[in-house]
């Protein structure tokens, strides 16, 4: 009896001493990237993997698997089936809640346990190198095209098209939205002059900007992006005006990069991964990833994350309703 009490006390003591270690993974962990190899979400998952491996934040191995089929629905559907298994993390975007709204997929955002939003990817309005010189000229040019101006983007009814429809409404113009498989593809199409513009993330088009095939007109953020090194001979990210400054009144449009566990995991397991992701954010590898891809670091978890989601869902819902995208 006494030994039992002693043991109980000992256990209590150790748990108190190290609350972060209430649960520890004991086998390899799978990172499910809801994008194909080389996609933005794939790079995100692999950056987290690299930060953990290089800094030995975990004793267990990490395997990144790509399940990007169906614009990522493959990965989410897979993760949904993992309920109760804390060895599978899914890496995604706002698609976790946006996709179920606009297409008949087999998951919804409430099928997952949120861990964190770790970074916000930025959106910019891009035109071809010899295209309109600023946002005002762009809007005029689009008006003159009389509805035949083309905006390229990744996927249909996804963030790119959502933003396109918001631009149309704000600027009072009409455009043809041409969906491609990825932002990288849209960038190449713009370089070839097959579309007039796109709203890529910085990392999707930085190489093209450097190479002088296209340039950004404005960034959809309340403030300009961090300075960083010059991209072209004369300009860097901070030289690009915000869209509001440039005369297009869309103050903020971002793409959160998010991490989730399946349902039915314990609070200890959730806490372990929240803590792990926090540690990842402190590593030089992570900082390097955020800087190189010109994203903005955030750390939304718990209530802050849920609030953010609720707000974003309202916004998406509004546009989707106007456009008739909502799933019946």
């Amino acid at each position: 009896m006494r030994t039992l009490k002693f043991a109980a006390a000992l256990i209590a003591a150790t748990t108190l001493a190290a609350p972060a270690f209430a649960w520890q993974p004991t086998k390899a962990i799978e990172f499910v990237a809801t994008a194909g190899p080389g996609g933005g979400t794939d790079n995100f998952a692999r950056a987290v993997q690299a930060a953990i491996v290089k800094n030995k934040l975990l004793d267990q191995a990490i395997v990144v698997v790509n399940k990007g089929g169906g614009s990522g629905a493959e990965g989410y559907t897979y993760e949904k089936g993992m309920a109760g298994d804390p060895y599978h993390l899914v890496f995604g975007t706002s698609n976790t809640w946006q996709q179920p709204m606009v297409s008949k997929v087999a998951f919804k955002q409430s099928d997952f346990t949120p861990i964190a939003a770790m970074v916000q990817d930025e959106f910019l309005l891009w035109v071809k190198q010899d295209g309109p010189k600023d946002v005002k000229a762009y809007i005029e040019a689009m008006k003159a095209r009389n509805g035949a101006g083309k905006m390229g983007g990744a996927q249909s009814k996804d963030t790119d098209e959502l933003l396109t429809r918001m631009i149309e409404k704000t600027a009072g113009i009409k455009m043809i939205y041409v969906p491609f498989k990825s932002g990288a593809e849209a960038a190449v199409q713009l370089a070839g002059g097959h579309v007039d513009s796109h709203v890529n993330n910085p990392s999707e088009s930085i190489g093209q900007w450097k190479g002088g095939t296209q340039r950004p007109l404005c960034v959809f953020n309340t403030k300009r992006l961090a300075a960083g090194p010059k991209i072209t001979a004369t300009e860097g990210w901070s030289d690009i005006p915000t869209c509001v400054e440039a005369g297009l009144n869309i103050p903020l449009f971002q793409q959160p990069r998010t991490v989730w566990l399946p349902l039915k995991v314990t609070p200890e397991q959730t806490a372990f991964y929240v803590d792990l992701m926090k540690k990842v954010q402190a590593t030089p590898e992570w900082k390097d990833y955020v800087e190189k891809s010109s994203q903005t670091q955030v750390f939304l978890t718990g209530a802050a994350f849920t609030d953010y989601m609720t707000q974003d869902m309202e916004r998406v819902h509004k546009v989707a309703e106007e456009q008739g995208w909502l799933v019946k």
Binding site: G36, A50, G70, Y78, V102, V178, E185, V188, T213, D288
Partner: protein
Amino acid sequence: MQNFDLLMHGFSIAISVPHIALMIGGVLLGILVGVLPGLGAPNGVSLLLPITFGMQPVSAIILLSSIYWGALFGGSVTSILFNIPGEPSSVATTFDGYPMARSGRATQALATAFGSAAFGAMVGVVLITCLASWIAGVALEFGPAEYFAVYFLAFSSFIGVGGSPPMKTVVSLTIGFAIAAIGMDTVSGQVRLTMGIDELVKGVNFVVAVMGLFGIGELLIAVEEEMHARAVSSRIDWGEVFRTIVGLPRHGWVLLRSAAIGCWMGITPGGPTAASFMSYGIAKRVSRRRDKFGTGEPEGIVAPETADHAAGTSALLPMLSLGIPGSATAAVMMGGLMIWGLNPGPALFTEQPDFVWGLIASMYLGNIVAVILVLLTVPIFAALMRLPFFIIAPLIFIVCVVGAYSVSNSYLDVVLMMGFGVLGYLFKKLDYPLAPLVLAIVIGDKAEDAFRQSMLMSQGSLGIFFGNALVTTLVAMGFALLVVPPLLRLIGVWRRPVRPA
């Protein structure tokens, strides 16, 4: 000439003891992942990606591209020996490679495949070296309409090639298109044809379909034929390898034409799969020995293999210069580039000349290392054919099941693969051609996307396919391939002069 200097500089980076060792290691590993279908080059490369995080970018890309070369070669092994193509681009190799191996000429078939593959790859690299900057511009000319025209060309160069009745070809194509339509539709964002199976939202993976259609389908046929004479004698004979390679220049014209098709399709982003099918189709049309195609004709191996590797190699150029990956493996490597801190795109050539030219130099060396290693292994692989059927059959079955599962760790894929096996068996029994089905599965959804994107852009006018010289030429060539042969046949010019009665 400037390119030449840069290349020499590249060689000085690539030729070092650790780099050569990396190449050998990478190639051997690549052959291994290539031989196991389902594992394949993209998976092999992504599994090793974490190891490269700590390496110099040049060393890392040398290792990864060597795996790629090895896997490309290895992929042909199973196509030829067991009728299981590991990559979409090796499908056309099975048409003549497998019959040739079955008739006891496995060594010759493998050596022919590797020899022509190496030739194709070399032409591709030389092209990259000489025309790097010019080529980069060509790919930019390709909008959705041009893409569609290229796919149309690929389809029409292959249709009517087989001896099957046109209606059967059409049926086979249509089933293929339907299968390609399963899953999320890019243009509308809607989920199609999932038949209540949630997981099907990802679509039907090509490898799963092909392993079933070819591997399991062939197995079922073999079982039905009561396993007679399934074990084929083949001697371990390095001399045979040598004689085959020396004899390759006899197919000089086929080699050159296929390399040209391959490079063209690699640069215009049609890709290796379209290239190999198109090259096979055209070879079958113009060859004097076209009646022998499908029964184990060496030219039927030379054509797709050369084009496949020429396209695979030249497809790396758009990746480096424009940031468009030409294949799944290239996409993984591109992910690697980003992690190593390089931005693929037009600026890469000017900003990172060491990296780019080191890589190009390693393409020369890597291919030479790969072809030597792989030729040495030919007789060993060929000896597999001597195993009796009751050992080989379960092995093939296991390889297919494991392969289908490992594509995306999914049991559904295994079930689908079995289903495709039955379909493949029925097709053979009823004498329907499999090639159009496979072609439609592989490039059907791309062709559909390109067509609908074009229609969006032109607001519904077909005029977009005649909008400029490039797209008009491509479409006209497609129609010509479709219409001219039957027309010629009709007026009797196409066939050889009528034999005297």
